[in-house]
């Protein structure tokens, strides 16, 4: 793994999200707790709703367009046969790090 430094964890509001542009498209970083961040695709499999604009609750996010709810641990949609891709992410010394291999090389391969 090659961790890429993205931002200060406080740049993401608690119970909120921000977007990172990657070669795989937009990835959303969801901050579900003071020191808990999840990374997942920003695009809802239903009709492409921008998930970073959704309401974040528990370890879930609700799509802003039609209220599909995703579990950020697995990426799975509740009650729907659909999921979003999730990506390795960690917090180190207050910085949010994304795995570069997971978000960049896939595209190149």
């Amino acid at each position: 793994m090659s961790w890429i430094d993205i931002a200060d964890v406080n740049d993401i509001p608690e119970r909120g999200a921000r977007v990172v542009k990657t070669p795989l498209g937009c990835i959303a970083l969801f901050r579900t707790g003071p020191a808990e961040v999840f990374a997942a695709s920003n695009s809802c499999p239903h009709k492409g709703g921008p998930l970073a604009d959704g309401i974040v609750h528990g370890q879930k996010v609700t799509c802003p367009l039609h209220n599909w709810v995703f579990d950020l641990n697995t990426g799975e949609a509740q009650g729907e046969d659909a999921r979003i891709a999730t990506y390795p992410v960690r917090i180190e010394a207050g910085r949010v790090l994304l795995d570069g291999a997971a978000i960049g090389k896939r595209d190149a391969a």
């Binding site: 039609h66 960049g104 595209d107």
Partner: protein, 810 residues
């Protein structure tokens, strides 16, 4: 040695068989369960509430993965069984064969597809399972036209659900009236009227000739030559038993797989259950008889004697607001007598069909409370001679008891059936209640009553009340969401009395069962807190829907629309130039005049929002809050300034009101209008507050709306001066802010508290002043332009956190 039981089809009938089997003898069989659908058993009859959005799939799952795992059932879901090899006692699925000692076929039925050209086009679907339901939900999200072929139970539930989701729906029905198998013409007429009220078009005596379209369905061509545009075609013309496997295996099959009273097919090791069977020349399409069959199958498999008996079934339609009931045989005939009751004003129709001294059929529309009682009389063949004169008025009138629903339920005999789906009678439920099942959930768990289609829930609750007396609290209001059992009203009251001033305090003190709420409760609690504690509570953007968090309306493609305020609908050439420049600079896809007398710039990129706002601010334009549960617009007409009929300065009053109210948050959106005379060019009589100017002053109306419901305002008060009109309006809005449930428009709130209650408060001088002061206090925080603030301090929040596309390309 355990016997091997293989089950084909994990539907409602086999689900019940498994429950019985495992309950009585958990270790009798090694069970393998195949299902073509990629999931286990769910309450199929509740697909309609899922379609209409009242429920989710989660709500209707009856057996989840854990259920099967705990009982050791081997699940092969998503796997179609392709062949039964009776000689070697093997069942072949797509992923391999499995052997059986006993085989249960429970393949249900398949929708009948009328063989017209175009039937296979994409966009043509039937209504049978979750996938169909989801396909309809997806199609409805795009809007447009839907044509439902078939005006029976399934077709109408589909039509109502699609209409609920905003599609323009036409039902095409071959017969002269809807649901002709269950309803007579009069009831069919009332049903049609109710459906038409929801915007559904009904075409009876219409036959489909073809489905037209290139690459996908675009229209339905009728025999009479007419065409109906159709983005979606739902075929719901009937079902036929799914018998292909049985036929191929050489079992005796007529219309369905033939079984005896023990549910055995022509092969003694193979039993069958559900919609796929035929018994004594009859087919089955409702769950009640299937559940009876399921009991018998379980017994047969365990070598216990019992026999299936066909009983009458009753039909209800699960469309909110269309209340119908039908049971027995209601065809007119020699020696038959009709008793009919009609109340045209209330849209009620009841008809009983009597043969000799027995009731043989009942059809009801509009008021079906007594349906189960009549159904009981039909099934039991009760002698009704004694009560013939008052029969139509139902059980409450028999034996001189008072006409209240509780005594009617109390008067039912123990054998009276309460839950038609599961065949549960009153005695069983009362026994369960006396045995400790003291709430609805417990009654459902112990007896299954009200656990299928749910239409008998009210009856079960009344039984709880009758049996437990004061120990049972009739549920009055719905909880806010799954995070709590409390209703909105309770939460509002407790926030005030317990002085809860943060969301965390609400979650903790009121026992939320989730860590920090969900998308349903969080916006509501956020509003309650800021309405009650404007100075202490800080608004939480993360508890707001994106539109309110980003101060713009999200579009279906993820861009936003920007609507600057135009006070009272007045603008200037300079403002228009600034809007035009902004439209160019930020490439607005569309510039539209809204229904609220201002201009909408649509298709603005999220990242550009702070910049377009800054530009508009420079020309003096501020947020129009076209996105908020708050003050939207104040529409005005030109009034006495220009119009030859104008009695007062309606434009000026509108601007004053908008300046007083803008920025405030309210339970739902609030729209105002001021018209200069009763010609009412500003459409004031359908606004939340609408003022009509007259020579003698101002008529203030409240509780109007023209959205999902069309409501005319009710007159709150007539006042002589402009000042007083403003004071009354502010007091009204504050009272609404303090008391209404989140997402109740004023008309809904008024329906609950009553106009008199409101008027008393608003007209009491001391209370009026208190309301105005409280509003002013709140406005000292909120009467400001959020755009300016965000453009200045938060622009970076609208941009991506990082852009890795460059690094990765290296």
């Amino acid at each position: 040695m355990k016997q091997k039981l293989v089950v084909i089809g994990a539907g409602m009938a086999s689900g019940r068989v498994l429950e019985h089997l495992i309950e009585t003898q958990p270790d009798a069989f090694d069970i393998t369960l195949f299902n073509a659908e990629d999931r286990g058993n769910y309450n199929r009859i509740m697909l309609s509430p899922v379609l209409s959005g009242e429920k989710t799939y989660e709500d209707i799952v009856t057996h989840d993965d854990d259920w099967y795992a705990e009982r050791g059932v081997t699940c092969r879901f998503g796997e179609h069984v392709t062949r039964i090899d009776r000689e070697n006692k093997l069942v072949e699925g797509r992923n391999g064969a499995v052997s059986y000692d006993k085989l249960l076929i429970a393949t249900g039925s398949a929708p009948f597809i009328i063989p017209v050209p175009g039937k296979d086009l994409p966009g043509v679907i039937s209504y049978r399972d979750l996938d169909d339901t989801n396909a309809m939900i997806d199609a409805a999200a795009k809007g447009g036209n839907a044509v439902v072929i078939g005006g029976g139970l399934l077709g109408l539930e589909a039509a109502a659900g699609l209409a609920e989701r905003g599609m323009n729906v036409t039902v095409v029905h071959l017969m002269g009236h809807l649901m002709e198998r269950q309803l007579d013409e009069a009831a069919g007429y009332l049903l049609r009227k109710d459906l038409e009220k929801r915007g559904i078009t009904v075409r009876t005596q219409a036959s489909t000739k073809a489905i037209l379209g290139e690459g996908r369905a675009e229209a339905v061509l009728l025999e009479d030559g007419g065409t109906l545009p159709a983005d979606l075609v739902v075929m719901a013309v009937g079902i036929r038993p799914e018998t292909r496997l049985a036929t191929d295996a050489g079992l005796t099959v007529a219309r369905g797989i033939e079984v005896d009273a023990q549910m055995r097919t022509s092969d003694p090791d193979i039993v069958a259950v559900g919609e796929c069977i035929e018994y004594d020349g009859q087919l089955f399409g409702l769950v009640a008889p299937l559940y009876d069959q399921a009991k018998i199958v379980a017994k047969t498999l365990l070598d216990e004697p019992d026999a299936f008996v066909v009983k009458d079934t009753a039909t209800k339609l699960k469309v909110t607001g269309c209340d119908l009931f039908s049971a027995g045989d209601f065809a007119a005939g020699e020696g038959r007598e009709d008793i009919v009751f009609r109340d045209p004003a209330r849209g009620i129709y009841k008809r009983l069909v009597i043969e000799g001294d027995r009731l043989v059929g009942a059809v009801m529309y509009g008021d079906t409370a007594d349906g189960n009682w009549f159904f009981g009389l039909i099934k039991d063949g009760t002698d009704i001679e004694e009560m013939r004169d008052t029969l139509i008025f139902g059980p409450a009138y028999q034996g001189g008891a008072a006409a209240d629903p509780l005594s009617a339920v109390a008067a039912l005999p123990p054998e009276a059936e309460i839950c038609g789906c599961n065949g549960i009678c009153k005695g069983t439920i009362v026994q369960a209640i006396e045995g400790g099942a003291t709430d609805l959930g417990a009654v459902r768990a112990t007896t299954k009553a009200s656990a299928s289609c749910g239409t008998c829930t009210g009856l079960v609750e009344q039984l709880l009340q009758v049996t437990l007396g004061d120990d049972f609290q009739m549920p009055t209001a719905q909880p806010v969401c799954g995070c709590t059992d409390l209703s909105h009203e309770d939460v509002r009251r407790l926030i005030k009395t317990k002085e809860l001033k943060s969301q965390a305090a609400v979650w903790q003190e009121l026992g939320w069962n989730t860590p920090n709420g969900c998308h349903v409760c969080r916006p509501a609690i956020n509003f309650y807190l800021l309405a009650d504690w404007p100075l202490e509570y800080r608004d939480d953007p993360q508890s707001r829907f994106v539109n309110e968090r980003k101060h713009a309306n999200i579009q279906k493609d993820g861009t936003f629309s920007v609507v600057p305020r135009m006070w009272g609908g007045i603008t200037t050439a300079d403002e228009l130039r600034a809007i035009a420049d902004a439209a160019d600079k930020y490439s607005a896809k569309t510039v539209k005049v809204t229904g609220g007398q201002r201009i909408d710039l649509l298709g603005i990129r999220g990242e550009d929002l702070p910049y377009i706002w800054a530009d508009l601010n420079r020309a003096g334009l501020v947020s129009g809050h076209a996105y908020s549960k708050g003050l939207r617009t104040v529409k005005t007409c030109v009034g006495s300034d220009h119009c030859r009929f104008g009695t007062q300065d309606s434009t000026g009053l509108g601007i004053k009101l908008e300046k007083a109210l803008w920025g405030s948050w309210t339970p739902h959106k609030v729209k105002l209008a001021v018209s200069g005379c009763p010609r009412n060019c500003a459409e004031a009589t359908c606004k939340d507050v609408g003022i009509v100017c007259v020579d003698s002053g101002y008529q203030v109306g409240v509780g109007g709306a023209a959205g999902m419901d069309l409501k005319e305002t009710q007159r709150l008060v007539d006042v002589p001066t402009e000042e007083e009109a403003i004071a009354v309006t502010i007091a009204f809005v504050q009272l609404y802010r303090e008391n209404a449930k989140y997402l109740d428009r004023p008309y809904k709130w008024l329906a609950k508290v009553g106009l008199d209650w409101v008027r008393e408060r608003v007209m009491d001088p001391a209370e009026r002043q208190r309301l105005i002061d409280a509003f002013e206090l709140s406005q000292s925080i909120f009467r400001k332009d959020p755009w300016a603030e965000h453009a200045r301090d938060k622009a970076q929040d609208y941009a991506p956190l990082a852009d890795l596309t460059l690094e990765a390309a290296e």
